[in-house]
Amino acid sequence: MIADLPLWAAVLVALLVVGGAALGLLGALGLVRGQTFYDRAHPPSIATTLGMSGILFGSLVYFSVTGLRLSVHEVLIVAIVPIVAPVTMMLLARAAIFRDRIRGYEGELVPSQRAADELAQAEQEAARHPAAATDPEPPG
């Protein structure tokens, strides 16, 4: 049963909850639309940090207003999840790099079709102007 809270609190809770859920949806959309694994690894982090904090702060406001005391235990999840999310992401990315290295880099590290086209165009330019291609990149 949803309690009758004051209007400002209701609007605040609604905005926080819907905003957090929209960010969660956005992260899942990016997970589907990415071209390679390294593209797809980024968007779910939006859902795990910002979307999660939005919904949990909405919960905090709701229970603080209805319970007439500060409800702080939501802060526990808000504190824990952004700390552990980069750890899993780093482990997973290192595992992915390892597996790509075993399989060979072909086709895996080209981030998207657009970047592949730009690379091909740059190679054509370099073939057309051999003098410009000889200037070395700065080392390191």
């Binding site: 809770v13 905005l15 949806l25 229970f63 824990i80 997973l92």
Partner: protein, 93 residues
């Protein structure tokens, strides 16, 4: 009035998170490689945890909070174990 606002907001948020879970499930079944599936499982777990938090707001009790906390921590542990498995071929060595 305000209960109506919160109720509709919760409904919309439930729907959005469910669509996000479906998209992540699509990535889970599609692949193409194991690390993509682990990423999708992680996203599904986070979205399920947020659904439980929303259920807690709807029910008006904070009994759901413990479930959400356990789901968040188990999601971290399972993702870390799966990533370790992908890296090494075994979890505990």
């Amino acid at each position: 009035m305000s209960a109506t606002i919160v109720g509709w907001a919760l409904l919309v948020a439930h729907a959005m998170l469910a669509v996000g879970m479906l998209l992540a499930a699509f990535r889970l079944f599609r692949g193409p490689r194991a690390q993509d599936r682990v990423l999708a499982i992680d996203a599904i777990n986070i979205n399920a945890m947020l659904q439980v938090v929303l259920l807690g707001i709807r029910a008006g009790t904070d009994a759901y909070f413990e479930a959400a906390l356990v789901m968040a921590l188990l999601g971290f542990v399972s993702s870390a174990a799966l990533a370790k498995f992908l890296m090494r071929g075994e979890v505990i060595e």
